[in-house]
Symmetry: C7
């Protein structure tokens, strides 16, 4: 981090520093920057989220490291940062979704849900006696006519992206997206690009077995995670393509 | 910032400094000074707000960076500063508007609404355990016989202007308005002047695609945002005019 | 300010310093000393308050800088200090007035109201978790047989004056009143003296357009602000008189 | 003040210092020591309180500086210290008096009332989040067969005196009382002695117009303040007597 | 005091120091050590408490300095330390006594009452936001078959003594008791010994007029204070006896 | 104490130090280590607790220093540390016992009770605004088929022992138990061993008159304290035995 | 620990450090790292937890040091860290299990329970006025078709393992598991491996008498602790095997 905080402004939660910053929120973002890399990419026919779960021991059960969650039939999310904080936010999102179904008898809008989560997060940056959430979310989903991809950060700010990344590999990921993302990609191309971004962010330490992919197609409006086999074949395809490119480049 | 705060007065929220200032409120204003530039201009037949959204990546969805909001049919607002704080204030304003409709069966007065928002903000500067809002609002609207343009800041102070600006470009904007603003302008002229102000504040880094304009005409009393095409043609007109002036000046 | 506070006594709100002072209250008074100058003057047939609003930009709407408020039919007030705090106190005063009408079916006594506001202010100097109000009020009104002029400060202290001033120009104003105030003045003479005091406090930077005057006559018992024309002609009269005096003096 | 507090024990309200003192309470006493001088004197036929109001400007309304208050028909009080705190205590005392009338259908005992006020004050020295009251009271009154004169200080301690003083001139006043007070004085003599004490404490800067005197006679049991004329003639008498003594001494 | 507290452990109320002490409680004991000296002595036929009230001015009403209180018919108490805190504890004790009468229709046991007061005191040493009581009590009374003499200190600890002292003269008093106290003394002898102890603790500055004595006889079970005359004659007797001893010693 | 705490971790109650310790809990244990020595010993036919009350003045009533308490018919406890804290815990234990009788109509299990007390203590180590209890308890009792001996410390940890000690003499006591305790001892032998341990921990300063012994036999299930005579004869027996051993050793 | 915390970030509970860490949570983990070693291992036909209880004195009752707890018929847990905190969590888990039975009339899922405990723990890391739990749990159980093994840490993070360890010996244990664990082990082999891990972590100071083993078989779904004899024979088998291996290695 490039900042040199003046003594003390950053130790009380709800205090501005002289240059108008909330250090606790910036430090919570730092917790996200230490997290696993997750990317989200929109395609013409759907939207995908991909996570590199960074499993460090063969003794772990890979599926217990959950970074992609289904919120509702038509909404999913990928998380980065403190895992226990993420679980709290995911639970909150699921409850908000069900409340919407009960009260209005229809599924919640993706943006409505994303705003509710962000309002919840904002509260933890303005009142004393709590700390901000140390977690960012990528929220994806399908509304009537289009897919959505929102990023929320610890401040409660909300942005929609065409393609974006959170976590340790964010800057590597964004560089690739700035260069290669095209709005006319279909879902399969988008996933391939996402895998490439994760691969490069991980500097090669990247395996199909620790990669999670969630997709929602515009016409189905059903969020689902890809099967392990499917993930493996896509990773293989990506590696082949990059090898080819690398060869082409060489 | 020009001040050299004595150690400590600026770290507890509700404390006066020896010279009678509330540093936390001044630091929250600093958060606004780091925000996007927004301007508001009154005309004889309406009032407009314009924002330069400062989009930094082509991967963002421009419409997700919302800086101009409709509060009620006859009221709109532009914000600068912490975006999550702004959303809280906008929500509050919308609820106050609806309460007025329900209780009195009529639309809320623009000044009444602006005062309610300011009273809400003031509370966060006098009680412990919270921080001030790091957001300024330009609230525009049409009452029975005239248009209004209010500016609120983090202290809860309320001022009405003929033309004003908030955010990073405020001083550049005000300089232009002091020089060129005329009370007999019509809406189109006012918008042109506002675009010129944003253009100069951005030192040329300014595009139609990231500019948002909201207008309310006195006779219609309906706040609406201009279409992208409309914005684009006005920006072009402004650039042509400045070029002409520049030529004239040269 | 002439004091050199010992480290720390002035940063926690409800704490006495070793010499028995409440620094936070004294600093809040400092906020008033940085405010706009307001004066109040009793006459035999009424009482007036005058404020120099210090408008710094032609882009402001002068009437939005409200420094003189009607509290009830027979009571008005002028404020100096933090404007958002002033609004809270004025709202409170208005509510207290209406409660008195509802409960006792008669208008509230001027002194009763002033005490209620002061008790409210005192609370903010004795309990933790809040800061004192950074605002002084001049409360004027007419009871059955006489007019009243109260000054309240951030400590909740209450004093009645024949003529007094608050805000940045207080000492200049008091000097003039000590020299020239006479108890047998009528309202017009009192207003003229008040304008002279404001004029001298502003060291000449003083215009009719930014001057607000509120008056209540003893026989009418109706507080009202003077029209712009009326203010302008009185300012002109005052300037002529001072010029004459200056000539006489020269 | 003669003490050299160890760093820190005096900044948190409810904390003992190593030598068993509560600095905040001692500092609140210091606030009283900076206040106006008030004296109380018992006589065989009544008890009186006298205050030197220290009016500094001819623009003040002298009667608005109220230092002697009627609590109930048979009880009065003089105050010194923070005036806003004093008002809170006087209000509390009046309410306690009325509660006693309502509940028991008889007037409250003077000592009972004084204890209630002291218990109220003690609370503000033992619990966090509040500061002690910066006010001392002299409470005088008449019970069935005798008059009472109580002094309360910021700690909530309660003492009865034959004659005593509070405020800036306390030590000067006590010196005179130690020398000249006699228990067989009647009310008029007592008032004369009280005026002499105030006169000497003020080092001659003392006028009838800013002196307030409250008296309660044992047989009437009605607390009342003396009329201005009455005060003036007694001050004249006192000055004559001192002059005579001074002559005698010379 | 002999301790050198490490910085900081003694400024927050409910915090242990590294050697397992609660400094705030020890400092509150120091407040007691600065208080007036009180002694209690058991005899075969009763128990007595005696206090040296240390009146410093002839202007005080001696009876207003109350250091011995009746709690119930069969229970009394002497206090030392902060007088306002003592009053709170005495009130509490009286209420507990009356509750016992109302609930069980019998007088409260002396030990039961002493424990209730100590439990009340303990609470103020374990929870935040309050300070311990700066007062010790000697509680005396008569149960069915014997008299009791309890001492409570600011920690809430409870001890029963045959003879003991609290306040400034405690160590001088205890020295005398250790030397001269006999369990077969009767009440009159015990009072004489108590007076001697107070006399020696005061280093001779000791007068009958400022001495208070409370006694409860085992067969009567009625706590009462001795009349002034009675106190005076006993003081005279004590002085004679000491003089004789002194002569014998010489 | 052997630790050198880093500045600050030990002054806020609920804070971990960098090496994972809760200093406040450790300091509360230190308060226990400064307390009177108490021991508990299991025998085949019962369990006993013994305390050396350390009476320092002949003026104290020895029985008022209570260190062994009956909780219920079949449960007793010995305490060490802050005596006022101990009383709170003993009261709590008695109430829990009675609740069990009322709710389930049977006596509470010894372990159930010990756990409830420990859970109560734990609460005071995890939440702010309170300090831990500065008291350890030895809880003894008889369940259906066996006797129990639990030790609780300020952290709320619970351990069962065959024989153990708390307070100032703990390490001396444990040394003796490690050497001499046998599981096949009967109650009389166990008490003798306990007395020997107390005797050695006190380095000879040990008297029957200040020793308290509580016993519960397995077949009776009635906790009772031994009479003074009984204690005296056992102490004599112990001293004889040690003398003999000493002789034997010599 | 390898970290050098900046002054102050680690003393307030809910505060992020500049690099995005919550020191209090990391210090609570340190409390676990000082705890007893516990291991959990999945087998094809069940799952086992084993603990080395580290009993330091022959006077302790070994069964009172409980480190393995039954939560429900089909769920057990092993704990490491602060024992009083562990008891709170175990109680909570048992209550959650029973609530599930009452509300849904079926046994709680192992993962559902583990998540509830983790959500409970997370709360203590985000809100002020409490400290995190200084305890990790290994939660084992059998659902319909498979066994589960979860590890929770003070942050509220949740991970499932094939084999894992917590407490002082964690790194030694994990090294052995990484080397020797096979997924096709049966329960007996798994227990043998677990004992070997504990043995090596304890560097030989390891006895059957202080070892606790809990097992749940997939087909029975009943968690139970092994009998002492059973444990002893397995420890003997393990030592023999290691000896053999050692011989083989030599």
């Amino acid at each position: 981090m490039q900042m040199a905080p003046q003594m003390g402004y950053d130790r009380a939660i709800t205090v501005f520093s002289p240059d108008g910053r909330l250090f606790q929120v910036e430090y919570a973002r730092e917790a996200v920057r230490r997290g696993t890399t997750a990317v989200g990419i929109k395609a013409v026919d759907g939207v995908a989220v991909l996570v590199d779960k960074r499993i460090t021991s063969r003794l772990m059960e890979p599926e217990s490291i959950e970074k992609i969650f289904q919120i509702d039939q038509h909404i999913g999310a990928a998380t980065s940062g403190l895992v226990a904080d993420a679980r709290v936010l995911i639970d909150r999102a699921r409850v908000e979704s069900q409340i919407n179904r009960l009260v209005y008898d229809e599924s919640i809008g993706v943006e409505v849900l994303a705003k509710k989560i962000c309002d919840f997060k904002q509260t933890y940056t303005q009142y004393g006696g709590v700390r901000p959430f140390g977690t960012s979310l990528l929220i994806v989903g399908a509304d009537d006519a289009r897919v959505r991809l929102f990023e929320t950060d610890p401040s409660g700010a909300l942005l929609e992206y065409k393609a974006t990344g959170i976590g340790a590999g964010r800057s590597a990921v964004m560089e690739i997206f700035e260069e290669k993302y095209r709005e006319d990609m279909n879902c399969d191309e988008a996933i391939l690009l996402g895998l490439e971004a994760l691969y490069k962010a991980a500097e090669g330490k990247f395996e199909a077995s620790t990669t999670e992919i969630g997709v929602i197609k515009l016409h189905e409006k059903l969020f689902c995670k890809l099967e392990e086999d499917d993930v493996a074949s896509r990773v293989a395809e990506m590696k082949a393509k990059i090898g080819g490119e690398g060869a082409g480049e060489a």
